[in-house]
Every structure is written in C-alpha cells, then in structure tokens.
Symmetry: C2
Subunit: 175 residues, 2 copies
C-alpha cells in the first residue's frame, strides 16, 4: 500500500466533504431563519474546541501530515478565521498546499524519522506518525466537526461523511 | 507501508482506548452518584446512533476490516448488549477474533477485490476499501462514541483518544 495514496487523496476528499457539510449548515440555518455564524462557536462540551477550532485543527492535521511525510516544514496558518467563508478559505489553502506535495516527495516516507515540536527530544517513524497520530488526529477533528453540526440539527449523514468511493461493477454479479 | 500494520495494531489499540473511556465514564457516574447505564442510550442527535450502537458499530468495523482484508467472512455478532459490561465484552470478542488474523493472512490484501453485502453488484480493491471505507467508518464511530462521553461530562481528552505511540528518544536531541 502506498503511503501517498493512503494519505493525500483520502485527506483531500475528507476536507472537501467537510466543506460540503459547511454548505449544508448554511442551508439549514437559512431554512430555519437563523444566522449561520452560530455554528462558528458551537461545541459539544464547554472545555472542548468549538466548530471553528475543529475545522482549523482538521486543516492543520492535513498540512502537517503532507509536509512531515514529504520531509518539509509545514506552512504556518494563523487561527484568525471569524466566518464560515474564512473557514472554507482555510480549507482551500490547505488543499492548494497539498497539491504541491507530489507522490515522489513521499519516497521513503514510511521510514523517515519525524520530529514534532510538541514532542521535544523524541522521534517517530513516518509510518507510525501517520497511523498512530496524523490519521487518528485528522479523523478526530473531522468527525467532531461533523458531530457538532449533527448535534445542532444539520442534515448530514454517513454518506456525507464517507463521500465518494472507488467502486466498480462486479463482473461476477448476476445482471 | 504494510496493510496489516496500518490496520490491525492501530484498530486494536483504539478499541482498547474505547474500553478505557468506558471505565472513565463509569468512574464519572460513580463520582457524581448517577447510574452509569445512562450512557448506554446517550446520543448527540435524536436520529443518530446512541452510545451502545456506536460501540457496536466500532467493534463491527474492526472485525469486518480484519476479515475482509484477510479474505474471510466476518463473524456475526448480534446487537444484544444491554450493559456497559456487555459492551466491554463485545469489544473483547472482537479483540480475540482479530488475534486469529495473522500478518500472513493479509498477503495480497491491498489488491484483493472485496464485495460488501450492502453494495450489491459492486466490488472494491482492498486498499480502497481500507482507506476510503473501513478506516473512516471506524474512526467515525470511535470518535462519536468519544464525543458522546465528552458531551456528557466524562473526563476524556486527546491523550485518551490517541493512546500509546511508538516514539523513541531522538539521538540528535540536546541532552
């Protein structure tokens, strides 16, 4: 299994899914006649990140995974978003960054030693960084963002979460 | 990157983390003097799975991933759990099943065509099944279970979610 394929196309797709949930949140607010900005500070627990911070963290987890596995320094994106449009723009900024990371940049990524600023004095192999931290952390923030919208009435379901899949007709199936 | 390593050890660990969150939920309920069974039917939205069903779905997603990628039929586990202890037992049943799936059983898993009963007439490559469905679906249910507990006051945090990591001292770090 290619590390690049496990990481980049799937994270790209999920970020686009997240942007689509924001569209659904706006549509829900407009249908109900309330300000969609309500979602910006919605949260599930008083000491948990609100929706804005969940989206920022989801976006950050993608840029960090792409950068670390490609042996680059992740770009800095200050957390200044104050509107849903700005959150969409943050997502797009990461999608554009991720497009600069090519499959060839992932050469040797699984074995690369990665050092993280919040784990001083330690290092982790690329494959472990990806499986044990980058991916769980990414899904954590994406799912929590989804759960916040779901909790606050937005009509999102599992299909919106999973998004498109690489299926094909089964040639052995009865027609 | 090995498909087996991306799947089995990480899903095992996360299921054990989930069991530990249940322990924290019980401790929270006991400290506050309410029946921990309250968590069984806790949910974030009226038309979303409750905690019981999230744990069952998380457990199912692991057994299904392990079985499909090993070219086996997943075992059936009826959704009959009525207590948190029974949910723990459901998790343990899956952990025991997963132990019967060995690394050699994953030989060729990335290229294996997989057919799913809920996608009749279609097939998906093992790698796509894992990256696009099994793993997102797994993290979806695990994170939602976590979010329900978090919403209902349980003292779980990101470290409880991520769990142990394969870190080692950085030989280049200043001592």
């Amino acid at each position: 299994m290619s590390m690049y394929n496990a990481c980049i196309p799937q994270m790209r797709k999920m970020l686009k899914n997240l942007a689509a949930w924001i569209d659904k949140a706006v549509a829900h607010a407009e249908a109900k006649g309330f300000d969609p900005a309500v979602y910006l500070t919605a949260r599930l627990a008083p000491d948990q990140y609100d929706f804005t911070r969940q989206v920022q963290a989801a976006a950050d987890s993608v840029k960090s995974a792409a950068a670390h596995l490609a042996g680059r320094e992740p770009p800095k994106h200050p957390d200044t978003e104050k509107t849903l449009d700005e959150l969409r723009a943050r997502i797009n900024t990461v999608l554009e960054y991720v497009d600069t990371v090519k499959e060839a940049d992932f050469e040797g990524a699984a074995d690369r030693w990665i050092k993280l600023s919040f784990l001083p004095g330690l290092r982790v192999r690329g494959r472990d960084y990806f499986n044990e931290m980058a991916l769980p952390n990414f899904y954590f923030h994406v799912t929590t963002a989804y759960a916040i919208l779901r909790h606050y009435g937005v009509d999102v379901g599992k299909r919106d979460f999973i998004g498109s899949m690489n299926l094909e007709p089964d040639p052995e199936a009865a027609s």
